[in-house]
């Protein structure tokens, strides 16, 4: 695949995407990659014509949503890359740029479709294994699934978050009986997110959670083992056997605290190029499965990723 062919292919051939951001580093990086760029400020102020196709990458601390920005892009085909919700320092921008270069959206969509058909029809609990750890996820009669994008295309008037192409994610329903998780998950890395509209409230807490877990990673204390009973996390042990649960849980939202808030199947292949020292949304779907804690509203949403986990009955 040629450079950025995957992301460019999401948009009409006659309308290559313009990269829109409030970060000079993002604009500079993508301009160097041959993309047209524009600032959020200019677009929101009407100083530039809204593009037909846009990659929108908010990265600077700001209050979202921005009504003027959303209005300007209402008729555009928009791929949202919420760097601000994860990490947006220069290293994270560079990492995202390089990962995006070869991202195969069509292959990811096909994997997502297979995963979705699997969970639609799977009657027995989903059996997940990785290096001796086993996890079982019983799926209920009614299951809430984050709406995925199953075709590698964005129409005008659509605003699609990039992760919607890259995973099949199940979330709690009203009765919290959509899925029940039991067992252990070997976790090679984490991604930590917060909602953009809650940046000034949840962002500092999410940042603290990243500092805690990145400290463990940098000290060589990964992989973690996440132990779950009846969808409640009972321990998060590092490679030395130390339990981090009591340090992690207070950094997640009070709602659903200690309970699994996401069970997802990644639609990317596990790649040697994944760098777990970067908090990137593109690490979250990097193969296997991941389990989420927290909601990202008033605290951190932490995805514990097991990229080499296999799901019985589902092709890797």
């Amino acid at each position: 695949m040629t450079d950025f062919a995957g992301v460019r292919g999401l948009f009409p051939a006659e309308a290559p995407p313009t990269v829109i951001s409030d970060s000079p580093a993002v604009l500079e990086r993508f301009r160097g990659g041959g993309f047209s760029v524009a600032s959020i400020a200019d677009l929101a102020a009407g100083a530039v014509t809204p593009p037909v196709s846009a990659v929108l990458a908010p990265a600077a601390p700001a209050r979202h949503p921005m009504p003027a920005l959303n209005a300007a892009l209402r008729e555009s085909a928009v791929l949202l890359v919420p760097l601000l919700g994860f990490a947006s320092e220069d290293r994270a921008v560079d990492y995202f740029f390089e990962r995006l270069r070869s991202l195969d959206f069509a292959a990811a969509c096909e994997k997502s479709r297979q995963s979705l058909e699997f969970i639609q029809h799977q009657k027995e609990p989903v059996a997940i294994g990785c290096q001796g750890r086993e996890l079982r996820v019983a799926l209920g009669e009614t299951l809430d699934v984050f709406a995925p994008k199953l075709a590698p295309a964005i129409a005008r008037g659509e605003c699609i978050s990039i992760i919607q192409f890259l995973e099949i994610a199940m979330v709690p329903n009203d009765a919290y009986d959509g899925f029940t998780v039991d067992g252990d998950l070997l976790c090679e890395g984490v991604s930590i997110a917060h909602h953009l509209h809650a940046h000034f409230e949840a962002g500092p807490i999410a940042h603290k959670a990243w500092g805690l877990l990145q400290g463990e990673y940098a000290a060589g204390r990964f992989p973690l083992t996440l132990s779950v009973r009846d969808s409640a996390v009972v321990s998060i042990r590092n490679a030395r056997g130390e339990d981090l649960l009591d340090r992690v849980l207070p950094l997640t939202d009070p709602v659903y605290r200690g309970r699994i808030t996401e069970f997802a199947i990644g639609s990317l292949d596990p790649a040697a190029t994944v760098d777990w020292s970067v908090n990137s949304q593109l690490n979250e779907p990097a193969g296997g499965v991941h389990l989420g804690l927290g909601a990202g509203e008033t605290g951190a949403h932490i995805d514990f990723v097991s990229p080499r986990a296999t799901v019985a009955g589902l092709a890797a």
């Binding site: 009504p67 928009v78 979705l116 029809h121 299951l143 809430d144 009070p254």
Partner: protein, 79 residues
């Protein structure tokens, strides 16, 4: 068990509107933000998802976290 019912939930007003798989076409609908794990800026504006409602909710929650931390003499978020 009967055929599993999949409810597709979205995050914004310009999001995926429907998902078509072997069991047919499924429309997607909104849920409250605590169950949204797709991070977007394209939220519908009517209450209760208005910016003002968010801010009030978050301010109250943040106040609780700070109050709890003060009571335990630790930094907010510490165990």
């Amino acid at each position: 068990m009967a055929e599993r019912v999949l409810n597709f939930v979205n995050a914004g007003d310009q999001d995926v509107s429907e998902v078509t798989i072997s069991t047919g076409r499924h429309e997607a609908g909104p849920v409250e933000t605590t169950r949204r794990i797709t991070y977007t800026i394209s939220y519908p504006t009517p209450a209760p998802n208005s910016v003002q409602a968010f801010e009030e909710t978050f301010a109250a929650a943040a106040k609780e976290i700070v109050k709890d931390a003060e009571a335990r003499d630790v930094e907010p978020g510490e165990a």
